[in-house]
């Protein structure tokens, strides 16, 4: 029964968000029922759209699974955007350097490069938090900004398609990357590519790491109580770095899949991070929260939010309601999810130790955490 109630809460939050969406639709002069129907058809209407939704869900699954890992270690990772970009850049460079390798080697290699790129970009705030006490919320946000500008620089200068210079058009994009790195389409006639099973496998992997390995045990122990973990001989600092690096590497994998699963088969920037990532670094947080910060539940949750994006795109075509509606709906879902008491207590319990890490017991000068919500 308790589980049923817990599962119902996100649904209620979603209903509340849709009620807000209905108000917005009415305010914009559209019929909300028609609007929701257009969104549903656009997201889940036929095999083609179901596939497109799955492809849209891939970065959300990966970022969401990564967020679940970091949250379980009481580390808040808001750097998904930057980590996606870092992974995409490293995988792009890899494909540019070794275009001739056969697909059986090159595809795993570019995906691995994505993992490494995102992992490095995630490890930086981890090191800053563990060894210099820098608040990871702030550092990950700042590293998002750094990553976007670095991407713009790379795509405008060193990595720009030589053709763009020749023609003088100077569109900031790479040349078409090696076809040997392209993720194969698995259902012909649709966009369903290898990225989808890879993302699902990665989410399962995140679950296995968290609950079936010594590393996961250490991360969860640190997430539960850094002081107790330290007393038990667990390297707390290294665990914080691992949590952010793992979280970042999954986002980086999403970046590689965005490049090599795209029709253009190249990396391109419009100057903003959302232009490349589709804001997956933020939307993945929404998917993870909706999935109860559990990597496996993040999979269906991400699929629903992928549907929100494809649905909103369809809505724009059919009823001329801007697709940005999806982003604002995501925000509303977050607000409702974190405001509902059950979820709030759960998140409160998961993140309780974050304060302990920031104010270790032996240095604590202030009173015990006053007024903390009793997490039951």
């Amino acid at each position: 029964m308790h589980r049923l109630v817990s599962a119902a809460i996100p649904m209620l939050a979603a209903l509340a968000a849709f009620a807000c969406a209905a108000i917005v639709l009415v305010a914009l002069g559209a019929n909300p029922l028609e609007g929701f129907q257009a969104m549903y058809t656009g997201a889940f209407g036929n095999v083609d759209r179901l596939s497109a939704t799955a492809v849209r869900a891939v970065p959300l699954v990966l970022v969401g699974a990564g967020i679940s890992i970091s949250f379980r270690a009481s580390v808040i990772n808001i750097g998904g955007e930057g980590q996606i970009i870092a992974g995409a850049l490293l995988s792009t460079v890899t494909a540019l350097a070794l275009p001739g390798l056969p697909p059986i080697v090159l595809i795993p290699l570019v995906l691995f490069a994505g993992l490494v790129g995102g992992g490095i970009w995630g490890a930086v705030p981890g090191v800053l938090k563990a060894y210099a006490s820098v608040n990871e919320i702030l550092s990950t946000i700042m590293l998002n900004i750094v990553a976007v500008q670095f991407m713009n620089y790379m795509l405008r200068s060193p990595l720009i398609d030589p053709l763009e210079i020749e023609r003088g058009t100077r569109i900031p994009q790479t040349e078409r990357l090696s076809d040997n790195a392209a993720l194969p389409t698995l259902i012909s006639g649709t966009r369903f590519n290898l990225g989808v099973p890879v993302a699902v496998a990665a989410a399962v992997g995140a679950y296995i790491i968290l609950w079936r390995t010594p590393l996961g045990f250490r991360l969860r122990a640190v997430g539960h109580s850094p002081d107790a973990a330290r007393a038990a001989g667990i390297p707390v600092e290294r665990s914080v770095v691992s949590a952010l690096a793992l979280s970042g590497s999954l986002a980086g994998l999403a970046g590689a899949i965005l490049v090599f699963g795209s029709e253009g088969q190249r990396m391109i920037t419009d100057g903003s991070s959302a232009g490349f990532t589709g804001s997956a670094g933020f939307n993945g947080i929404v998917a993870a929260l909706f999935g109860g910060l559990h990597p496996l539940w993040t999979i269906p949750s991400a699929y629903l939010f992928g549907g929100l994006i494809t649905g909103a795109n369809h809505l724009q075509r059919v009823l001329q309601v801007p697709a940005a509606l999806a982003v604002s709906l995501n925000g509303i879902v977050v607000i409702f999810v974190v405001s509902s008491s059950k979820v709030r207590d759960r998140i409160g319990a998961i993140l309780k130790a974050r304060r302990e890490f920031d104010h270790p017991a032996n240095e604590s000068t202030s009173s015990p955490p006053a007024g903390e919500v009793a997490a039951t």
Partner: protein, 309 residues
């Protein structure tokens, strides 16, 4: 480089820097008031975007800049009430609910812009108000005394916020709510009410920041703020939760941004490196956080929800 070190260029860069620091200063001071009461608001960016859009839309459709300022401010106030409900009444996790506000503001301002405006059009900008006599001083006048009313207001806010937090009962209560809410509660202070008020003040200032930004540029585009709201949050850490510190940080960012713009115009920074130079604010922030993180302490109860037992 020698082109840069002429009095005219230096002072006009300084003037631009002061102008650019205005939104940082409003938003940073607002965030500081909220954090002093123990509430982290990561939604500044979203509130700035919403206020910027509605102020812009008002200016575009009525032609009245004063009405635009009023609307932008009220949108900030309204978002303050919303965020107060989320964090104080519903005790939501502050780090995450702020991201919710950010996403909502990002999407909704974009949605409204496409729906109501579509193609970007310029509105009139805030006029510059020359201070009599002082604005005539060579160079110094350009740098300090030929700004818009919003810029002067931002700098007047610094002592006002200091007085509010240091010299009033409300300010004492705000600090108590942020340092030790339980003691504050036992002395009869309503922590919920104090935090709610502090959040409304903070978000209103974030709204003013968005308004100042858009009316300085005279045009809106989706994601206009481009991370400024997040940098404003970092400025509070940078300024060690003190108003003059926040001001110093805001000025530093404004001047760095202005210098980069001037250097680009003078060709000191080659075009190919302009993206690299755009990293400067974020990199400086990270460096400052590394240096300051272990030296300054945030309010002890920051991000901790409070409920009476």
């Amino acid at each position: 480089m020698s082109d840069f070190f002429t009095a005219t260029v230096l002072f006009s860069t300084l003037a631009a820097g002061i102008r650019l620091s205005t939104p940082f200063l409003f938003a940073g001071l607002g965030e500081m008031v909220g954090q002093k009461s123990g509430v982290l608001n990561l939604g500044v960016e979203g509130v700035m975007l919403l206020s910027a859009f509605f102020a812009y839309w008002t200016a575009l459709s009525t032609g009245s800049l004063w009405l635009a300022v009023l609307v932008g401010t009220l949108v900030g106030l309204l978002m303050g009430v919303v965020y107060g409900l989320i964090t104080v009444v519903f005790h939501a996790e502050q780090g995450i609910s702020g991201i919710g506000i950010f996403l909502f503001g990002l999407g909704f301002s974009d949605l409204m812009f496409q729906e109501k405006v579509g193609t970007p059009k310029f509105t009139s900008k805030l006029p510059s108000v020359d201070i009599p006599l002082l604005s005539d001083i060579p160079h110094v006048g350009v740098a300090f005394f030929q700004h818009s009313a919003m810029t002067y207001a931002a700098f007047v806010m610094v002592p006002l916020v200091m007085i509010l937090l240091r010299r009033t009962t409300f300010g004492t209560n705000v600090r108590a709510a942020g340092e030790n809410p339980e003691s504050a509660d036992s002395l009869g202070v309503s922590v919920a009410r104090i935090r709610f008020s502090a959040i409304v003040i903070g978000n209103t200032l974030a709204g003013v920041a968005g308004t100042a930004l858009v009316l300085e540029l005279g045009i809106f585009q989706p994601n206009l703020t481009a991370g400024r709201g997040f940098i404003a949050i970092a400025l509070v850490y940078f300024g060690a939760w003190r108003a003059p510190g926040v001001m110093a940080g805001a000025l530093l960012y404004g001047v760095v941004e202005a210098t980069v713009i001037t250097w680009k115009a003078l060709g000191i920074i080659p075009r190919s490196l302009s993206d690299i130079s755009a990293m400067a604010p974020a990199v400086i922030t990270i460096a400052a956080l590394v240096i300051l993180a272990r030296r300054v302490k945030p309010p002890a109860a920051l991000t901790q929800p409070f409920s009476r037992h």
